[in-house]
Symmetry: C2
Subunit: 211 residues, 2 copies
């Protein structure tokens, strides 16, 4: 099957949205927790978080300012802080439900049954049910001229991990944590490790270091 720019443009809008959202492959599934300066809490699922650097520890994410993420964006810009919380199998339904367009005065924590957790004097709420939680400080937000989405760049200030997830080399076993992968707009997946591969060098053949 082949689509080019013209045949992509000719697709019905919903079809194109589903298609294009599938093409990156698997995406991370994170819940953004925020609290406005006047105390309103917000929670929304995001599939666009990406690694930006380990030293300093940085992540990026993309938010559409007119989407259901708009309150998250507003609050993280207002306060400078947010949390990221991995979605696992037990909270998929609640996590997906945060993508509904609730009015401003409704907290998606209360509406979906997830529990806000304040910890380590961090100003934004973590998700108590999550097993991998990050406290993030906004470094910059940038409006991308190409389509009006917003790039958020943030530093990792806190890492809260359930016990037993971190290997001796620092790798965090997100599969063991039950973290799900997202595809398209609405499909959630558990994983089965094929293996970890050793650091690649030109004169070595590819080899697993563990299953």
């Amino acid at each position: 099957m082949h689509f080019n720019t013209q045949s992509l443009d000719a697709l019905p809008k919903t079809t194109r949205v589903n298609l294009i959202n599938s093409l990156t492959g698997f995406k991370s599934a994170n819940l953004i927790g925020t609290r406005s300066n006047n105390g309103q809490e917000n929670l929304s699922i995001v599939g666009s978080c990406f690694h930006l650097g380990a030293d300093p520890a940085l992540m990026g994410m993309i938010i559409r300012p007119h989407s259901v993420d708009r309150h998250s964006l507003e609050y993280l810009q207002e306060t400078g802080y947010f949390t990221l919380n991995h979605v696992h199998e037990g909270i998929i339904g609640a996590a997906h439900q945060t993508s509904a367009r609730y009015p401003r005065e409704v907290s998606e924590f209360g509406a979906t049954g997830l529990t806000p957790l304040y910890s380590h004097d961090f100003p934004a709420p973590f998700v108590a049910e999550s097993r991998i939680r990050l406290g993030m400080k906004v470094i910059e937000t940038q409006d991308l001229a190409v389509n009006g989405t917003v790039l958020v760049i943030a530093a990792i200030e806190h890492v809260l991990l359930a016990q037993g997830l971190m290997a001796s080399d620092g790798y965090v076993d997100v599969e063991e944590a039950g973290t799900v992968a997202l595809s398209g707009l609405d499909s959630y997946h558990l994983t089965r490790r094929v293996g970890r591969w050793r650091y690649a060098k030109p004169d070595l053949t590819p080899q697993k270091i563990s299953d």
Copy 2:
């Protein structure tokens, strides 16, 4: 377990790199195919592709300019074109091996046994073994001041899909395609769908539309 900025900084470098690279959750696994103006082919794996928009169809990715991706970055900037090719279980070893630091004159296609495919008059090589392949046109590249990485924004000009992967609503079944998810720097995972969830609205309860 808890890390803050100070205890993250105090970790040995390799430990911190493995830890921080794990924290986004699952990542897409794509091979970037490029060809320089003088005909040198390059192939490198990237875990940082993200959806940027469906109309127009845009994706972003992050490249570290001093990493093994440097030739990919140079060639896609020079020519304005590259391909993205999903990694599936059968080509994990070869795909991971493209992360070795080969000299410029070595094509990672030849070195890893993957096959360059030129199709639809697109100037960059696709990966013949891949089942989901995208022809990408560079819209802009931007040096991110925060850490010197490069944000590449590109338009999807061609979509090449193996038969039977696209549902009637446009969703592409990346699990059926065998596309793998990546975690950390070196862990590859197959997936098992938990379900697709219906479009969320405030007055509806979360519900699967399919398993």
